[in-house]
Structure formats: structure tokens, C-alpha cells
Symmetry: C2
Subunit: 731 residues, 2 copies
């Protein structure tokens, strides 16, 4: 293995001396030779890279079986299957008159080999725990994946679904969406997210394998495959995630880079002339170049074998393809990227590729060939189930944990681990209280793991009983993301979507959610219950100044669908926020936490938090206070103090903690009226952030106190208060 992994790029390229074929021919000269070494120039390096991986016997047997199936496959049938994929994509895009035919036409060969020859999955149970994961990072090419799922026998993509591509209510939306289409692992489309999700999936596999595999019983053992394009490669988030993948040595991550030289604006020459190979070499990946991705089936197969043999590095297989392969007039141009070919060009492509069939037709022999995946998948899962049963007998505790992780069923009574506080408990920053919660929860939640973007000691996210998840210590649960917020978020999405019981958390300063908002929105959309631990949540952070002081961030997330924005005020509320966050496995949570110390307030509670908004003190009766003071986070204390003052002056005052607008919104009308009675219009909110949005809560007669300008660099005491009390910033 060492010899193989030590390949330099140039050696790897030299070793790719597999004969290949003209990229514009779909040649019948191809002779499928399976995996016998004799078909390759037997150079030393090739021999090394093709030596059998030292995986355990049982797993190897399954793989060998897969290889045998391959060898019987007739090349014409492969070609026919590949063209079936191409035309399903062409026809669906044509019918919708919308979509991206270019990528599926170019990537059909690698797609075919992955789903038909390489990947292990069970079409009738797409959630089988130990399945290989596939991510189409270049999500616009989703018809490739829909065609593959259809051929493989997934019930989620039937012929009628292909025919309703991109239509209202269909299972085949314009980009892959895991929450719409069973069999899709993650939601892609925004470029670069998918490859970063895949890093998270591969991290999850490496982590769980390290924790649960036993000698002779590798219960966790799958690969993560990705297809990414030029667009993904240009995005910074992919570089961040791939740098981590290299650092962590995610050997079971195999990424196909669809090197087609075309993006929406035309040839990539106009904006993308870097050497991706060299960059990935720098990132610590193994690199293989398949020069003919259009018809070089053997090259693709050999590359996958080589990639699997390199166990200490992720592999990038650069597959040079022709976008829109087969279209005589549009291939290799941007015009085939994101538009239907048009009836005339569809006809020309049918002629060119020798495809006599009606739209959406799957030839019988292709159908028959693919039909084996249903029994095969069932067998794979049955075999794994038997293995697990055996495992469970020997390793009861581990099996229970793994079941919890794979099912998402939380261990009974887990919430009892949450700390509680009294007003006498010492004042503390909610970031510290958050660390107490994390360290309490990690003892009862086997799926909890995470870390910070190089701010662990500021975000207070270290799990004290664990070490660092690293290349050689993947069983540990502190993940060190480096200064890579966007990659961190997208990796956490991948972890969360690997198994329903994995609960990733990640952390940075709240203001830097701006760097990772792309991933956070996908968390919300794809129903990944990531916990975002966001500290330094206001100008209260002090000297670092306005670049580090969030203002509009609370509002900006309250406006985002399907995400919980929680701003706890003290220990009980922090514990409550964690309870909510852990329970919401299909909705991400953001915890905005203070840098500064805050007192433990009377009246706060975990139960209160669960309602989003609740009364912490009140001296009125009949649900008719003179005034309602509403605070969140560090300003709940101010609201409480102001309430005390007003009461001394004879007023009846209700103080409300409004920790989560979303949760409050979900309460019954009665409950809402009991907290914010319509008849009481004297309402004042106080929050060290933008007043934007508070108008709805305090009403036309109320007042929202906040900060609608940028902060300033100054110590967090008296001085900084000038920003928001004295500088005319309050509405």
C-alpha cells in the first residue's frame, strides 16, 4: 500500500498507460477485458496499484463476486446501457424543456460502472446502513442519477417520474433533493456542497468503522463516491473540504472529477486554468487521470480499483469527458450544458448513437441486465444483517449504540443528562454553559461528535473525555475543522445524513455564519439536524470590533425556513436549547451564545425554552400587565432588571424570554395569547442586534430596542454600550 500511496502525480499519470479510444467514437472495437492484469502494461507501479486491498475475507468475497459478474458482461450491452442512461436524460430534459443534458451524456459511462458494477446497495431498502454512498456534486446533472436509480430498481424513480422531470410534485426535481427522492443521499445543486457532503459521509464511515468494527467483523465498511464538475472545483468550499479529506486520509472517498472543460459561460479557459491535479496533490490526494471518459470503460474500472487500493488517501479520478457526448452539433459546447437539445438535435443524436428507440424506452436486455440488482441488493443486506446479528451477540453494548446511530432512536432518558441551574448557580457565559451541555450529552448520545473552525478554545466546544478525530485516531469525537467554516457546515450535513443518529455540531463566531450560510441553508432544506454552536453573539464580544460583531444575523436566520434560531439567556436556557436541538433531527438549530458572563435568572427553564417564548416573571393578574418586556439571550437580564425597576414604580410588568421565534410560532393560539395578549400593546423588546422583524412582535404601538448599525472596537463594558444605548441606533 505504501508504494502505491507514495505515487507522485507524474508516476500516476505515467502508469495510466491503458490503451484508450478516440473521444468522439463510441467504438465497437472495445474489448471488455474485465480486471485481468494482462490487459494493462504491466509496469511495476500498475502492479502495485492493482494488488488486492487487504480488506477482510468476507468483504473481499462480495467484491470478488461483483467482479465476476462484470467479466460476463458483454461490451455491447454496457454500451447499450450507457446509451439508455444518456437517452433517458435527453428525453426527460426534452419533455420538460428544461434541465441539463450535457453532464449525463458525458458521465453516463462512469455512472453506469458505479451503479451497475461497483457500488453495493439495496434498491428496495435505500436506507440500508452499510450501503455505498453516492453524491452527484454537480447536481444540475441529476437526470444521470435519476436514470441510474430507475435502472437499478429504486421504487422512487419509476418511468412516470422520469416523464415528470422538473414538474410540480414530481419525485424528480431540478436538482437532487434527498427529502424528495429516496435513494438520493444529500441535496446538491449549489456547487461544491456535494463534494463537501461526501467528505462528511466518508468521515462518518471512517469514524464509525473505527469505533465499531471488530477483528473479523467489519460491520461498518462502505465507500463514498462522488461526481463533481469544473464548477464544484472552482468553489472555495470544495477546496476547504478536500484539504480536510486529505488531512484525515479518507481512503474510502473516491471522487470523479468530470473534466469536460465547459461551464455555463463557455470554455473553462476563460476563468479556470489552474492545474487541478497539482492542487489536489498539494491537498494530499491520490490522483488518477482517465483520459477517455467517454468510452474508456476499462480505464474507469481500473481507476476505481487503483483508488480502492490506496487506503490512506482520498482519490481524485480526473475523467476527461465530452459534455453532451453523442450530440453531433452541440457536444463540447456550453449550449448542451443547461438547455434541452431541441427536437432536431435529439433526432441527430439518436442517429449518431444508433438509438432507434422511442423516448424513455429501456431496451429489454438492458432492463434484464439491471434487474439483478434487486436480488443482489437484498442478498447484500441479508448477509450484512446476519453479520450484524452475529456482532450483536458478541458485542451487545456496541451493537446497541450502533443501532441507535443507524436508526436515529435516541437512548431512553438521554435528556436527564442535561445540567440544570438555580439562580444561585454562578454566573457564566452561555458559551461555557454550552460546553457543560456538550460534555454531559456526549456521555449519553453515541452519535454526538463535532468541533470548531479553529476556535475550539473560544467556542468552548471540546469534549473533554475524547481526543481528536484524526487520520490515525478516527474513533475520537473532537473534529478539528481548521479555519474552514463553509466546508465545516457542509461536512456536518454529510455526517448528519450518513445516519439518522449521528448528531454533528460545529462552531465558530456567530458573525462568521456569513461564511457558511450556503451550507446552513442546505442543512435547513435537506433536513439535516446539525447543531450550530455560534458564540460571541453580539457587540458584547468587545475589542475585536465590527468585523467580528454580529448585528443582522439573528434576523437573517429567523427569516430562513426550517431552521431553529435559539438565543439562550443562561444555563437552564442553554440546556433547553440543547434539548430542542437534539430532538430536532430534521431541522438544524443555531445556538447564539455569549462571550460574556451572564447571571442565572429566576424563572428560566428547559420547558419554557421548548415553547420558544415564555414568561419568566410577572406581577400582574388577569393576563393584563401594564407592559410586557421581551428579551433574548444576554438582554433577558436587562429586561428582568428593567422589570424590577418598573415594578418598584408600581407598574405591573411581565418579562418574557423569547428564545426562539420559530418554536413560539408553533404554539397554540391560546398559549400565544397567554404570553403576549393582544390587548396589551405596551411592549418593549430588547436585543443586542438588528431590530428588523421585531415590529411584528411588539406591534405598531410597541418599541424595539436594538442595534441597527455596525458595532465598534472597544472593551465590552461601559464603552461598548455606547454603540447601542447612546448612539441613536435604537428604533
Amino acid at each position: 500500500m505504501a508504494a502505491s500511496s507514495a505515487f507522485s502525480l507524474s508516476q500516476a499519470l505515467l502508469s495510466r498507460s491503458v490503451p484508450h479510444y478516440g473521444s468522439t467514437q463510441h467504438s465497437d472495437r472495445l474489448v471488455l477485458s474485465g480486471f485481468s492484469l494482462s490487459s494493462f502494461s504491466g509496469s511495476k507501479t500498475v502492479r502495485h496499484s492493482f494488488s488486492r486491498p487487504s480488506t477482510p475475507r468476507r468483504v473481499s468475497t462480495i467484491r470478488a463476486a461483483a467482479v465476476e459478474t462484470l467479466e460476463k458482461t458483454d461490451v455491447a450491452l454496457v454500451e447499450k446501457s450507457v446509451n439508455t442512461i444518456r437517452f433517458l436524460a435527453i428525453d426527460a430534459v426534452e419533455k420538460a424543456n428544461s434541465g441539463h443534458p450535457g453532464l449525463p451524456m458525458g458521465c453516463a459511462p462512469m455512472g453506469h460502472i458505479l451503479y451497475d458494477e461497483v457500488m453495493r446497495y439495496n434498491p428496495k431498502n435505500p436506507f440500508w446502513f452499510n450501503r455505498d454512498r453516492f453524491v452527484l456534486s454537480a447536481g444540475h446533472g441529476c437526470m444521470l442519477q435519476y436514470a441510474l436509480l430507475h435502472l437499478a430498481g429504486y421504487d422512487s424513480v419509476l418511468e412516470e417520474d422520469l416523464k415528470s422531470f422538473r414538474q410540480w410534485g414530481s419525485k424528480t426535481p431540478g436538482h437532487p433533493e434527498n427529502f424528495e427522492t429516496i435513494g438520493i443521499e444529500v441535496t446538491t445543486g449549489p456547487l461544491g456542497q456535494g463534494i463537501a457532503n461526501a467528505v462528511g459521509l466518508a468521515l462518518a464511515e471512517k469514524h464509525l468503522a473505527a469505533r465499531y468494527n471488530k477483528p473479523g467483523n467489519e460491520i461498518v465498511d462502505h465507500y463514498t463516491y462522488v461526481i463533481l464538475g469544473d464548477g464544484c472545483q472552482m468553489e472555495g468550499v470544495s477546496n476547504e473540504a478536500c484539504s480536510l479529506a486529505g488531512h484525515w486520509g479518507l481512503g474510502k472517498l473516491i471522487a470523479f472529477y468530470d473534466d469536460n472543460h465547459i461551464s455555463i459561460d463557455g470554455d473553462t479557459e476563460i476563468a479556470f486554468t489552474e492545474s487541478v491535479d497539482k492542487r489536489f496533490e498539494g491537498l494530499g490526494w491520490h490522483i488518477i487521470w482517465v483520459k477517455n471518459g467517454n468510452t474508456g470503460y476499462d480505464e474507469i474500472r481500473a481507476a476505481i480499483k487503483e483508488a480502492k487500493a490506496v487506503k490512506d488517501k482520498p482519490t481524485l479520478i480526473k475523467v476527461t469527458t465530452t459534455i453532451g457526448y453523442g450530440s453531433p452539433n452541440k457536444a463540447n459546447s456550453y449550449s448542451v450544458h443547461g438547455s434541452a437539445l431541441g427536437a432536431k438535435e435529439v433526432d441527430a443524436t439518436r442517429k449518431n448513437l444508433g438509438w432507434p428507440y422511442e423516448p424513455f424506452h429501456v431496451p429489454e436486455d438492458v432492463k434484464k441486465h439491471w434487474s439483478r440488482h434487486v436480488p443482489k441488493g437484498a442478498a447484500l443486506e441479508a448477509e450484512w444483517n446476519a453479520k450484524f446479528a452475529e456482532y450483536e451477540k458478541k458485542y451487545k453494548e456496541e451493537a446497541a449504540e450502533l443501532k441507535s446511530i443507524s436508526s436515529g432512536e435516541l437512548p431512553a432518558g438521554w435528556e436527564k443528562a442535561l445540567p440544570t441551574y438555580t439562580p444561585e448557580s454562578p454566573a457564566d457565559a452561555t458559551r461555557n454553559l454550552s460546553q457543560q451541555c456538550l460534555n454531559a450529552l456526549v456521555k449519553v448520545l453515541p452519535g454526538l461528535l463535532g468541533g470548531s473552525a479553529d476556535l475550539a478554545s473560544s467556542n468552548m466546544t471540546l469534549l473533554k473525555m475524547f481526543g481528536d478525530f484524526q487520520k490515525d485516531t478516527p474513533e475520537e469525537r473532537n473534529v478539528r475543522f481548521g479555519v474552514r467554516e463553509h466546508g465545516m457546515g457542509a461536512i456536518c450535513n454529510g455526517i448528519a445524513l450518513h445516519s439518522p443518529g449521528l448528531i454533528p455540531y460545529c462552531a465558530t463566531f456567530f458573525v462568521f455564519t456569513d461564511y457558511m450560510r450556503g451550507a446552513m441553508r442546505i442543512s435547513a432544506l435537506c433536513e439535516a439536524g446539525v447543531i450550530y454552536v455560534m458564540t460571541h453573539d453580539s457587540i458584547g464580544l468587545g475589542e475585536d470590533g465590527p468585523t467580528h460583531q454580529p448585528i443582522e444575523h439573528l434576523a437573517s436566520f429567523r427569516a430562513m425556513p426550517n431552521i431553529l434560531m435559539l438565543r439562550p439567556a443562561d444555563g437552564n436556557e442553554t440546556a433547553g436549547a440543547y434539548k430542542v436541538a437534539v430532538l430536532n433531527r430534521k431541522r438544524p438549530s443555531i445556538l447564539a451564545l455569549s462571550r460574556q458572563k451572564l447571571p442565572q435568572l429566576p424563572g428560566t427553564s428547559i420547558e419554557g425554552v421548548e415553547k420558544g417564548g415564555y414568561i419568566i416573571s410577572d406581577n400582574s393578574s388577569g393576563n393584563k400587565p401594564d407592559v410586557i418586556l421581551i428579551g433574548t439571550g444576554s438582554e433577558l437580564e436587562i429586561a428582568a432588571k428593567a422589570g424590577d425597576e418598573l415594578r418598584k414604580g408600581g407598574k405591573t410588568v411581565r418579562v418574557v424570554s423569547f428564545i426562539s421565534w420559530e418554536l413560539f410560532d408553533e404554539q397554540s393560539a391560546e398559549y400565544k395569547e397567554s404570553v403576549l395578549p393582544a390587548a396589551v400593546s405596551a411592549r418593549v423588546s430588547i436585543e443586542a442586534g438588528s431590530t428588523f422583524g421585531w415590529g411584528k412582535i411588539v406591534g405598531s404601538a410597541g418599541k424595539a430596542i436594538g442595534i441597527d448599525r455596525f458595532g465598534a472596537s472597544a472593551p465590552a463594558g461601559k464603552n461598548i454600550q455606547r454603540v447601542w444605548i447612546n448612539s441613536g441606533c435604537c428604533n
Copy 2:
């Protein structure tokens, strides 16, 4: 030059055979040898890289003078100056008991050489157009830059300013802020932004030089220097921007990578083990490694010379330093990164570096040495002014344009170029109308340039009379950013801050502002009047589905300080939005534009847009309509139609376009009352986005119609309407 630029990394490293010194010694063994070639091992490659750049004679003279000054400098004095910088940083952080002493202590040598020996600037006119630009991308180390500005004679950083580091109202905030401290070029702190800003500054120089330089009169000719750290290197935005810098061949961009192996969480080994050298080689940069950044002054000088000689590639000088150099107990550890040393360690450091002075003391000889920069800077500027006078005589038109660009004074009557429309003008998508505006404006605004993140043909941002800004055609004004939204925004900040008359615009789908929000917030904070052309601004984009459909984005930007969120409804409003955007040179603008066709509405106007909200139709009198309908963008048409219907039913209805909340907020109370009279509580807003925030406008009795859930993939007609009319999404 070719020979030099063709260096491979390994050759470059081999050529760095300059003798260097132990990193923990501040040795007096150093003998400063100036730039004579004899001090280097005279290998062929070194000779090549040190050959004089083929810049024109006049410029070369100035540089030669600078080099001569150098040669007279005595090494002990350099060391003393470097230690002055170190202790100014140590003392300021200590007094504030807050800040980052580690970077200034490690980077003082490169800082000294840049500001004292290499850079051309005028301390008494920090805005001198042709100055070299310096960016501290690792902004937390800002005391380095404050110390340098102080020594160089900038009035913005006096001794009292150093003493009030990080205090309320000081000119020395916790991170460099161009709007607080004259002499700071851009606002940094959020990592990776600075290097990307620097790419923008270097782009601006290359572009303006190509447009305005004449044979024998290179009126635009400066370098852009950056210091970036490990944190910047990890951020995706820096990879995006650096990929473009390599692509564009920005030879006058010279970046110092402070390779100190420490970030907040500890040794970079825990999260950052990639080969930065190889990555940058892949990105097309020239790479030089200075192994001893602590005391290797000659190495640093030689590296800069070599970097200048490579004209077709940007250069990364990896400078290996010791963070906190000089601190006997804290150097080379994370504890010196972001905290004051503490009195005891400050004393120990004083002893260790032989520094007998009081805090904030600048020794007389150091002061005297630096004092030459005031006359020298004045002379440099005077020389340039004379050159410009000469230029102006010969090239009147070009000189006028360049003056407009360097002063920010817009050409008289520019706004007359804006197109106007009547209700009879054809319906069109506002993205197309935007392109009409851009193409009209580029004829009258010499500083307008920009482009899209690989969506030019969707965002409709191409300037038809220009070609692409590329390595060999830098005079052109269409910038091709590739799929790099975050880098694009940060580069545009750099362009905008290069010269007040440069007006960069950049474009992507509105939803992908999530990828670039970090840069957009910095635009707002640092007063960079970037124009963000954001198309596909609602679920109206159709089939691409929820990953591409903005929902919360309007609200999220309305909550952000100092940014204009504009959502025009038709041609006149699009023209008005551009008028506002161009006029707001210290406030960025976001234009949310439709993919779909919209009619030209009666009543819309450029003047109306300037007020943010205005009446487009009304059949009431006495400022008392029965109902006020408020719409923005594509929904203004719906509001107008609903108004017509209601009027048919006998109601008095006012229809208001609410294109920019920020502009409306700035109007007089009288004007606001004339549009939204307090007495009229029957108000309905309609906008295809989150209703968040509308409560304040429509009031407790009003109704906000919008979309508070994610969209869906379906054609943009009837089907998509289901998302927001029929699916219970409206509040």
C-alpha cells in the same frame, strides 16, 4: 523573464540558497549586504531572477534610488527598527490587555522591509493614486500595520493612538478598518478577505495600467503587497481569489505567507497539513520560500526582488517565521496568538531582545531613520504629479477619465444615459433591463467594470462593446469570475477601494449571495460601493427548484446595516436602481432582478426609486385610501392588478412600490406620512419572499403576503404559484 517565470517550484526552492540564520537567534552576526548579486550563490536561475525588470527608465530610476538608500542602512539599525515594531505591538496589546501580539512579533522583519525599504507611498497623502497598496490579510495582527504607519509618519496613527489601541473611538481598532484609519486600504479580520481584496487591487492596477499607460509614460504603476497567515490559507475564499490571480497573471501582486505553523487551536498539524506550495503551483503562482523570516533580512529582500522580476505570475513568498518571536516562553505557541503576553513575559521579552526602553518608546535613531519617508513620499508624489501633468497635455481624454477614476467625481450628466420606458415599452425581465442599463452606463462611466460568477448569460451582465478582462487583454471590462461567488465579492471590494471612481459590479443568482455574504458584509462595513447584480430573485425562476430559489434573502439584507437592497419592478425602476447604486459610492447596492418577463408599469419612475417607496397609482383623495397595496419587484404588477380590481368594486386604493426600505427610511416624516399615512391601517404587502420584517410596514392590522417556506422545482407558471398562493405559506 520567460526563464524566470518558468521556474518549477523545486528550482525556485533550490535557488533559495541564501545563507540563513537560526530562527531563535536575533543574531548580530548578520551582515547586511544590500542587493549586490555577489552575496548569493550565483546559480543560473538566481541570476535570471535577479535581472532587472524591463520597466521603463523613469520608474526604474525611482526604484534604484530606493535601493541605494537601502545600502546605506546599517544592520543594527534595521534590527532596532524591527524590535521597535515588535515592542510597539507588545506594548499596545499589553495596555489594552487585548489583541494579537504574535503575528507582529514574527512579521516585523518583512513589515519593516516593506514599509521602510520597498514600498512607495506618501505618508502625508495616503490617498496618492499611484501608491503601492498593502493589505494585512491576517488582520488580527493589525498592531504590525499601526506600528508601521506610525513610524512612516502617517498622521492617522500617532503615539496616543497606539496607546488607545482597541479603545472606544480610537483610530486603532481591533482589526484594520479603512473607514477608521487613514492609510489602511481595506478592512480585514474575517480571514481570507484581505488576500482576495488584494487580488482586486492588483486587478485594478493591471486594468488601469493597460487602459491608460502610454509608451514612455506609465502613469499607473504600483505593486500590491499582502501578508496572509495560515488562517487565510485555509479559507476557501482565498483559494478562489488566488486561482483567479494566477489565471489573470497578476505579476504585480506579491503575497507574503506568514508560515508560522500556529493557529488559535494550536499547531497547524491538527488541521492543515496540505502542501501550500504545491497548491499555489497548481494555481499558477510563482513560489519562493524564505526559510528564516525572523532575521533573514537579505532573504526577504532577495525574495521581493525575485518576485518583481516575475511579471506574468503573482508571487507567493512563503516566509517561515516564529509566532511571538522574541518571547522566551511563549514564542511558537498558540498562547501568543491572541492574548497579551502579560507583564512578566513582556519583561522577559525585553531582556531577551535587549530592549531597555519604556513602553511605546521609539528610539531616536529609529525615528530619524524613518523620518525620511515624509520628504521621500512627497517627492514621489510630486514626481508623479509632474508626470501626470505631462500626460494630461498629450492625452487629454484619457487624463480626464483617469482623473474621474482617481477622484471619484462622476462625469457630468452621466445619469442621462439611463434608459427610460413607457407602459407601451415591451415587457421584459428586469435582468434584461439591467443589461440595458449596464451597457448604457459603461459608455459614460469610465470606472464601470465587472462580471458574473459563470452566469453571464443568465445574469445578463455582458458589456457588449468590450471584450474579456484576461491576462493578455487587461484593458477589457468584462470580468469572468468563474464559479467563485465569495472570491468575486471580495475582489470587487478590492477594486472599489483601489480608486473612488472604480465601480465594480458582480453577479450571480440571488440565492447564491449565501456563498458570498462574508464579502458583501465587508462591502457594507468598509464602504465599498460594489453593485451586486442578483438575478433569478424568487421562486419565479421555476424548475431549478428550492436550492436555487431565494426566500429569506431580501429580509436578510434589509437587516444588514449600510447596504441598499433594491428590487425593481420594471424598466424605469431598474434604471432608478442603477442611478442610486452608482451614486452610492460608499454604500453597496444589491439589485434583485427577475428571470421572468414583467410589464412596464404605469407610474414607475427613476425619481420614485430614489425615495425608496412611492405611490404608483391612487384613486383616493385627502391621503385616506381605503386600502394600501404594497409590492416590490415582480409582485408590484400583482399589487397594481389587485388595485384595479378593488377599484372596480368601488374601493379607493393606493398602490405603493416599496423598492428599497433603506431609502424610504431616510425620507422625511412628512414624505413617509404622504405615502403610508398612519391613519390607514388596511395595508397589504405582497412579495415573493419571506414575510419577515413586513410586520413593521403593514402594521398589526395589516397583512403580509409572501412565502415562508422553501420553494419547489416546477415551471414558473401556474404550478409554481401553488407554492405561494395555495400552500398555506402566507401570513
